[in-house]
Symmetry: C2
Subunit: 401 residues, 2 copies
């Protein structure tokens, strides 16, 4: 081995930490543990029989193309289908505005690669999705967090911060938002707030990165227009994925943006993985074409809705006074605030002993806040496990109080 | 759209060019064109019927895992199979030394992300694989090229260059080599040269990145030990892939290195795409387990050997005096030198008119050399197309002489 390995690694990678979620998840490998930790879909909902049939159809009808290299932009059929769906949602786009990525995480990696020079500033929410924070950090970004209220990122504080940064000569590269059922906070941004944020982005001439993995998973309440569709002027980059609404195992995501920006994604993706697997893209396209996607999405929504309602009921039944939680209109997570100064990391280790796991909330804060918060997933485990897990968690919290 | 888009993109991405191959390939979309341009496998060799059966078996036996998120390191079964195969080839490794990547191109991206700070130097061959050069460039590397002789990268010139750089206080991050059937030069490095390069790397305490996509595609001559296996002391990072020896459409590659380096790949991959598709990894593992991989590899080798022999014969039959070409013992490419000062880019545009395409050789040189060279692929087109294409190419060359 070379003598100075630790010295020769790049500055950006020196600053990378192993994902906190990932390391904590290692403690949850014990099959007896009820895990509220990951953001995993319910595997019972995976359309295994349909995919057996469709994978064979794809191999029969276009096997030589499915198994060959594909274009960097992605499978044309799949892109057309996605563009059509987004157009119905008010997106003013054509094929040039959409590129397939190898998961939405690759979208976050490429947006960082394209815009971030070491030391550049990006704006994110307090809290924000850990994989976004990690991707920005991997390119040496300074992450500036904006606090939330019940409507998500506070537009007044966002404007104050941008004004303050402007005075320092700093122009952030983009504002990172997850407008629907925010991960981890569970908050959905109402249209008014979305428009305020667009206006601020335009005023300061800054891009918005709209991360939208859960939008289709709405159980109740009124669907909100995407920030992209409310803008339609090229200020917004929207990231989508099949991971939560179809299967994560295909690793298919996409990026929608102004054509000049999409062109940069294509160039950057060429050097990153050349193309996303045409095989899984063609299976996904056929799955949607046959109408199976929309059908199964309904089932996913009703299953998760039921799971959420039971979870909320269990929280109401078992949690002691002083614990509070969000009641999201969709998505996969509750965000829980512990009483007073109770430390979620300490609670985590006690909970593992009682065979229940979650993600400590502080990992979602780029400023180390949220020490008394935790993220609870309700999509992965069964309803019975969810109830039992909340019981166990409530016990441990009571002991620590 | 924001007003200063071209200004806010990162310095690294500003320095990226659209892949020259990719742009030239656009000119070859015409189905009448015989393309020697890509590095595509023969789609007739894709094991479509076997993969229909195996994809169903995977979905039946482990569908919920195949369609769920997987571990960042990769599918354990597939990693075990690969580790066992490499051990038989003299690699002193265990499971901790191998991480699955989303194609070998991702291996090249991650090795760049891990080691390259903007302005760092990396050593590459004159010529080198374009995707490697592009990946290093995407992180702002200075690429220093070392000329070749019949044994590949010249060790004397490598040592001179490292000494010269040392005097300037520059220590390159790694030496990039493609030891078997080098892309594009077609040269295989003999063991003596491999050992010389290892000794130099050790003397100057520099890593070697051994890109090895073609090693198994040997038609004739004696198989050479991998640089990794000749070293076995942690100085070498080896990249492998299924793209040329199974199917490119699965986008599965892997990196083999010292465990401390593999750990950095895992951390960097977390932020890049979380994990490679478990679905295609499980299909690949089962395909190898059933013995189908080794069986089909024999067929791939014999098919490409035949194609190469016919191609060489066609070159001998049709090319005018002054054109020379390599006769590789394996791989996918001939490297051709045109007479005198004939410009390959000019030839390319004339050739497109005659419905035959190739890649101009200069794109493989980080110093703009090789203006009178071209890379010719013999794996993709049929034998008849290969002969006809060489005829057409010879005609155009004669016209330009």
């Amino acid at each position: 081995m070379i003598t100075d390995f630790q010295e020769i690694i790049s500055t950006n990678v020196k600053g990378m930490k192993r994902s906190a979620i990932r390391e904590l998840l290692k403690l949850t490998q014990d099959p007896e543990i009820i895990s509220f930790a990951g953001g995993l879909p319910d595997p019972e909902l995976f359309p295994i029989e349909e995919l057996k049939k469709i994978s064979n159809e794809v191999l029969d009808s276009e096997g030589t193309k499915a198994l060959q290299y594909g274009s960097t932009e992605g499978d044309t059929k799949l892109r057309e289908i996605l563009v059509d769906r987004y157009k119905k949602d008010g997106f003013d786009i054509s094929l040039d505005n959409l590129v397939i990525t190898t998961s939405s995480q690759q979208g976050l990696d490429l947006v960082s690669k394209i815009f971030i020079n070491r030391g550049d500033t990006v704006i994110c929410g307090l809290p924000s999705y850990l994989g976004g924070l990690g991707a920005f950090n991997a390119y040496g970004a300074e992450r500036v967090g904006i606090p939330f209220d019940d409507s998500g990122m506070r537009s007044d504080l966002l404007e104050n911060k941008l004004e303050e940064l402007k005075k320092q000569g700093i122009k952030p590269k983009f504002i990172y938002v997850i407008p629907d059922f925010q991960n981890p906070a569970g908050i959905t941004m109402p249209e008014k707030r979305r428009i305020e944020i667009i206006e601020i982005a335009k005023k300061y001439d800054i891009l918005i990165v709209e991360d939208s993995p859960y939008k289709e998973l709405r159980f109740e309440g009124k669907s909100q227009k995407s920030i992209f569709a409310l803008d339609n002027s090229g200020h917004v980059i929207t990231l989508g994925t099949f991971s939560k609404i179809f299967v994560p195992g295909f690793r298919i995501g996409w990026v929608i943006a102004n054509a000049a920006i999409v062109d940069k994604f294509v160039v950057a993706k060429q050097n990153t993985d050349l193309c996303t697997s045409p095989f899984v893209q063609k299976i996904a396209a056929k799955y949607i074409e046959k109408g199976l996607f929309d059908k199964s999405l309904k089932k996913i929504i009703s299953t998760y809705y039921e799971k959420k309602k039971v979870m909320i009921k269990a929280f109401e039944d078992y949690m002691p006074e002083g614990v509070s939680w969000t009641n999201p209109e969709g998505g996969l997570f509750l965000f829980v605030t512990l009483p007073g100064n109770m430390n979620a990391e300490k609670l985590f280790h006690k909970s593992i002993e009682k065979k229940v796991a979650f993600v400590i909330g502080s990992v979602f804060f780029c400023n180390d806040e949220g020490q008394n918060t935790m993220r609870i997933n309700f999509s992965y485990s069964s309803i019975e496990q969810n109830i039992e897990g909340v019981k166990r968690l409530a016990e441990v919290i009571k002991q620590l109080m």
